[in-house]
Amino acid sequence: MSSRPELQAPPEIFYDDTEARKYTSSSRIVEIQAKLSERAVELLALPDDGVPRLLLDIGCGSGLSGETLTENGHQWIGLDISQSMLDIALEREVEGDLILGDMGQGLGLRPGVIDGAISISAIQWLCNADKSSHEPRLRLKAFFGSLYKCLARGARAAFQVYPENLAQRELILSYAMRAGFAGGVVVDFPHSTKKRKEYIVLTCGPPSISTAVPKGKGEEGESCSDDESSGDEENQTVSISDRHRPRKKQKTNKKGKGREWILRKKEQMRRKGNTVPPDTKYTGRKRKARF
């Protein structure tokens, strides 16, 4: 069976009492959700003046992401389709207001009142047709259209999503653009299969400098260029070496892997988002003979 919950049942049925309880009692999920929402708030790029904003949490579930918003000092309104999840949120006494609603039916909010919207792992549900009356395209259109309306000018929306495939991401983005949003996808840790996270960052209003999509984590251009130059050096040594030597021996000489190699491997791990000790003068240094 697939591990994607979207393929198993509609959200209001999949997240029943047991599933909702499981979701919130797993410390692993709680931690991941907190991290994702922290990053989403960061991507909203709200002005750093300490003024609390009114934010929207779409697919708020049991209020895990809302708690991050509260910690950041903001007021929020949460929307979710699963009554069981909202019941858990009530139990946890979250600070924000909760609404039982379906994002695919459009958000019933007044125009221009919301300062920002986040959504953690929820938007991909829109791409499913769970009832005969559901048409994913219409639901996406209703959602993004109403979202564009209720956001204040210049406000941002940051949605963390798990698109199933390229086509699904394209579909979501194309409807966001059609609604008038500017923006794109931010990918954190693109080199790692496990830590890779995608965020759709949208800005309400015409394209400008402020609507530029922020950079993802773990994909700095600097480290890439470093890699290229070190690659060149390697090529040079290879071209000099004896071509009749077996391949394997070319790579490891008597001295071992060497500092260069270690640094490269560490950079690789860093790009995958793993915790790597910093590079110091001790990195790859040979031990003394008397050790």
């Binding site: 009114l54 000092g73 309104i77 009530l90 207001d97 909760l98 609404i99 007044r110 209703a142 204040a152």
Partner: protein
């Protein structure tokens, strides 16, 4: 549900042109103390539909707010007014009751403070 949220919500039924404000039918109202934040109040004030807000607060039995929206300059200094505004906006919770669409009369029930805004298939 707080009046802050009520002031933002509007009816989303197909064909309804002006779904705001939703009429409140309150059965149970509770008060929860929240810390006051003047910056937030100043930030949110221009976005509040004052008339709907005052009417809603009266329905919940809080009649301290002025009928007419005050000048934004009042917010800078008048701490008494800020206190009242804060109380009505963030401390009054509708626990049980209903929201009624002003055009169609459709009822959205509120249970345990959560309004059920799910639409039927023919209302989308």
């Amino acid at each position: 549900m707080r009046l802050l949220t009520h002031n933002m919500l509007s009816s989303n039924i197909k064909g309804v042109t002006n779904g705001f404000p939703l009429r409140i039918e309150a059965e149970k109202v509770v008060e929860k103390q929240v810390e006051i934040n003047h910056d937030f109040l100043r930030n949110i004030f221009p976005k509040i539909e004052w008339k709907a807000f005052v009417d809603a607060s009266r329905i919940l039995g809080y009649a301290e707010l002025p009928e007419e929206a005050p000048e934004p300059s009042v917010l800078e200094s008048d701490h008494e007014f800020l206190g009242k505004f804060h109380h009505a906006l963030l401390e009054l919770h509708i626990e049980e009751g209903a929201l009624v669409c002003p055009e169609t009369g459709r009822k959205f029930p509120i249970n345990k403070g959560i309004p059920n805004m799910l639409l039927h298939e023919d209302e989308v």
